[in-house]
């Protein structure tokens, strides 16, 4: 579904992405781990089109999207969430989801009809809100809801575009363990045909959700395998200073 071939990126003298290759099958849940500065977010920005690679190729459903702009990749079914909330703070939760659904359905191009009132948009808003437990907050302005709700909405915006692949950049960052557990449950319950690529620091989430784990260190892939293999890898224990003994 999503394939990355020998991706490379430098910022001046700093080599942030080194010959990264990945292959995600349809419906696969892949978690990318790595210490701070390993190049995880840079990889996401390359995949989403917010950065251009120096070398390598990105294929979505077999189609080369390496040169495609951000919006085109989104229209091809590649959605993303951000590590730092990137929402429409002045709008309500329902309007946020509605805007995302309207862009995806093309309703946001209509000059005659209010896209937020269109049945297909309203249906998507209702469905995504129910899945992410956002229904009680639909009428609230984003700036007035809790941080946890905003994190859920961050994922909700990506889901509302009805993507084939979602890139989730640290979806549980900054939220408490109880809410993070709910998040794991929600991610695990997403439709199986949806392919997920998740950057995460939370080991619990990695082992709960991932079909496969990829570890980046200094911009290169140092491990790619099943969660159990990752759990038993001595090299990865060294990288993380034994932090997943507790996982």
């Amino acid at each position: 579904m999503l394939e990355v071939r020998h991706l490379d990126k430098r910022f001046g003298p700093i080599h942030v992405t080194r010959d990264v290759s990945l292959r995600l099958e349809p419906g696969e849940r892949r978690v990318i781990l790595g210490p701070n500065g390993a190049g995880k977010t840079t990889l996401f920005n390359l995949l989403a089109g917010e950065l251009a690679p120096d070398a390598g190729a990105i294929l979505l459903g077999g189609r080369d999207i390496t040169a495609a702009p951000v919006a085109e990749r989104a229209r091809q079914g590649l959605a993303r969430s951000y590590q730092k909330n990137t929402l429409f703070d002045a709008l309500s939760v329902a309007e946020n989801l509605g805007l995302a659904a309207a862009v995806a359905t093309g309703a946001a191009r209509s000059i005659l009809r209010d896209c937020l009132a269109m049945p297909e948009v309203r249906e998507t808003v209702r469905e995504v809100a129910a899945r992410l437990h956002l229904s009680p907050h639909l009428d609230a302005t984003v700036s007035a809801v809790s941080y946890g709700v905003r994190r859920q909405l961050e994922v909700g915006l990506a889901l509302a575009t009805r993507p084939r692949v979602i890139l989730l950049d640290e979806p549980t960052s900054g939220i408490g363990p109880e809410m993070a557990h709910g998040f794991h449950h929600m991610l695990a319950s997403l439709p199986r045909e949806l392919t997920l690529l998740i950057v995460e620091h939370d080991m619990d989430l990695a082992f709960d959700v991932a079909d496969r784990i990829t570890v980046l260190n200094y911009g290169e892939v140092v491990f790619d395998g099943a969660p159990e293999e990752a759990r038993n890898s001595a090299m990865l224990k060294d990288i993380y200073l034994g932090s997943w003994e507790n996982a």
Binding site: L87, F88, A104, A108, I111, R113, C115
Partner: protein
Amino acid sequence: MFRLSPLRLGTLALLLAAATGAAFASGFAGLEMLTEILILAILVIALDMVAGFGGMVSLCHGALMGAGAYAFAMAGLSLGLPVWAAMLFAVLFTGAVGWIVGAICAGSQGIYFIMVTLAFGQMGYSFVFESPIFGGDDGLAGLARPDLSALGIDLNTSRAFALYCLAALVLVVLAAAQILRSGLGRALVGIRDNERRMRALGLTVWRTKAHLFGLSGMIAGVAGVLAAQHVMYISPGLLAWTVSGEALVVVILGGLGTFVGPIVGAVAFVVLRHEVSAITPYWHLVVGLILIAVVMSRANGIFGFVEDRLSRMSARRAARAAAPRGEPHDA
């Protein structure tokens, strides 16, 4: 997100009633002032659409209005089109110019957007000023008003022309509300609030900006046509950057992004100009001081201030109603 709240609808109804009353009750000077307000209101609605709802602060809307006026004049005088066809041509032409300007400027933001639009405006001004076919500095005279004699209306009277401009303003308000309420308008507000996210959701941002700039240009074109018909003469001064600057002052004075505010601003600006200039030639100083006071008060213009006050009052009333009896509460 664009909403026509009861306050906004009520204010629009009040303004419409006041303008209709003034059109029937005023003498020649009053009717000329009313017409000036109505044409300026159309221009500032066009500007508020892109600046207030799209975050695209334009300094070329005066030039777009001028383009509409010149297109109308040239279509009638040089191409020999009938008045209504020339008006339609002018509005479509200005829309096309607006679309091109919007498409080119879409990649820039903030001060750079302002500067690029200013450059476009100045290019238009210089082109018209230097070109003999546009009459150069002398401008063009002999422009016609539509013939409504079949309806028993003589548009050559000040009263009929003011009512004709009022009808145009009503149509523009309805059209602008429809555009801002549409999918395209919602997308524009999304771009203003978070352009990066709109792009990540799959929106082609430059195209949306260009469409809205084109539609705004069409409305500025309507103002240009009416301005040309009002004095039946046009000169390059219509395209000057000061016209764009004045329109921006009016939008800020009335309330940026409030839809109704710019119309209130147009009324305040024209009335102030007429009243203060009768007392002193330094009327710009007075308007400048008022604008500084509005900006320094951190209120969003006259209408934004009223909206904010009323919403605080209703929030206080709601808090008072929700508080249990006998318990003190914060004001």
